[in-house]
Symmetry: C2
Subunit: 245 residues, 2 copies
DNA sequence: TTGCGTCATTGATCCGGATCAAGTGTCAGT
DNA sequence: ACTGACACTTGATCCGGATCAATGACGCAA
């Protein structure tokens, strides 16, 4: 016989499966905020929830771009490869981030889970069918795309002109700002990705990333804690990152 | 007394001033294609044509983002600066390109003319007021933004992971593809920007750009002609650029 | 014509970060 | 407790591109 709290949990799971959007933790963060409660079921109708283990691939560069994704849990990396295997990570996405925004026929990048992750998958064709009914969605998509563009442009400055130390400092501040924006503590940040991925994001090698962490620690600008936690000296790092303030 | 062809020319100039959109050479290339002929005057009402000499600034990083621009003639560079003067060029824009696409309150970059240039200036607030009436414009803006994002992501791969030779080859192919897309010959391309700007775009110094041109010429992959014309060995350059083909 | 300013090329040297090569935890499975 | 497997750190050396420094090639104004 089930205990009351077990029944409650079971009901929550069933609701999550049948009405994913109404119970979505990431809803207020994402494009879904453009749809009012009473119409949510129309959105829910074209959504599938997917679960990913680390190293699972969500999207493969060159494949037909059939879906948009909304990360609701975990960390994924978005990356491009050169034919000889060199990798550039375009970005990391966390809960609330929309992935797959493109008007093109095929994905221009691959997406892979770094941690266990969960995502909402939207059928692209059908979502675009809703755009005339909910013009707010189109606006929201443009807004998201525009923000990503601004972030990409900042990253071009980083990759083209910053030193290794400036890159790592900028990266740590990015994580801090993102955490704050999501309502989490800005200061001790958690690195959910390894040194290799940080390197592939910053255009550096794993050794340079490691050495730079060591130097920053020696200068008391960061402190490495347990579980990949990093305490930051925010003001000093900001000086160093090449930010304008 | 004016000759008939002079009258004709004068009339064209007057029409250009009073009905800029209807006579815009770049119209079919830009966001303006979302508006049908009979409604063009509504678009024209919020447009000003501006002329720029080389080194004139169109937009300054940090200023309130009051306008969108549509380049109709010439070349401009879009760039970001670090406090110590290091510069990263985010992109070059030519006739038909839309500049200033952003949802943010302030420009995140500066824009400066490299050649004599002309542009249509749209009042941002008023253009966004038209979005409900012409939802196609919103879609067009998203589409443009999305394309720019894809280009920025390619550039991140270039800046983070490509060698100097691969960067220069990629850059020349970009110019070639852009020319083809605009219906111009794909092969002899014209460099409307100097070596310094190419360097600031590719994350290299002026000397490295120059040396790389010299090497490519020695390998018969390019030939430098008069007036900054460059003849390209498209297939060989494509091999070298790290493109997937 | 000369002189000057600007830009591109070329050479010599330097250095930040890459590459190559060991270590050093740390944790899961036995 | 032992053993891989894996991720990270640290050290030694190398090299691609940066920096410093002339030199050439135009166009333009006097």
């Amino acid at each position: 016989m089930l205990q009351p709290e077990q029944k409650q949990a079971a009901r929550a799971i069933v609701e999550r499966l049948t009405e994913p959007c109404a119970h979505c933790d990431a809803r207020h963060l994402s494009v879904c905020q453009a749809v009012e409660d009473p119409y949510l079921e129309q959105l829910a109708a074209l959504v599938t929830t997917i679960e990913l283990a680390p190293h699972d691939t969500m999207v493969t560069e060159g494949d037909p771009a059939g879906h948009y994704f909304n990360i609701t849990y975990g960390t994924v990396k978005i990356y491009k490869l050169l034919p000889d295997g060199r990798q550039q990570i375009i970005g990391f996405s966390f809960a609330g981030d929309f992935v797959g925004l493109s008007v093109r026929e095929n994905y221009a990048y691959s997406v892979e889970a770094l941690t266990p992750a969960r995502a909402c998958r939207f059928d692209r064709k059908r979502l675009e069918g809703l755009l005339t009914k909910f013009p707010k969605i189109e606006h929201q998509l443009r807004s998201q795309t525009s923000d990503e563009l601004a972030i990409a442009q900042d990253q071009m400055l980083l990759l083209g002109r910053k030193t290794a130390k400036e890159r790592v400092a900028s990266f740590l501040l990015q994580l801090s700002h993102r955490a704050k924006r999501l309502g989490q503590p800005a200061n001790p940040v958690v690195l959910t990705m390894g040194r290799a991925d940080i390197g592939d994001y910053l255009g550096l090698t794993i050794e340079t990333v490691s050495r730079t962490f060591t130097k920053l620690r020696a200068e008391k600008l960061i402190a490495l804690g347990a579980n990949n936690t990093v305490h930051l000296e925010l003001n000093a790092l900001s000086e160093l990152s090449g930010a304008w303030n």
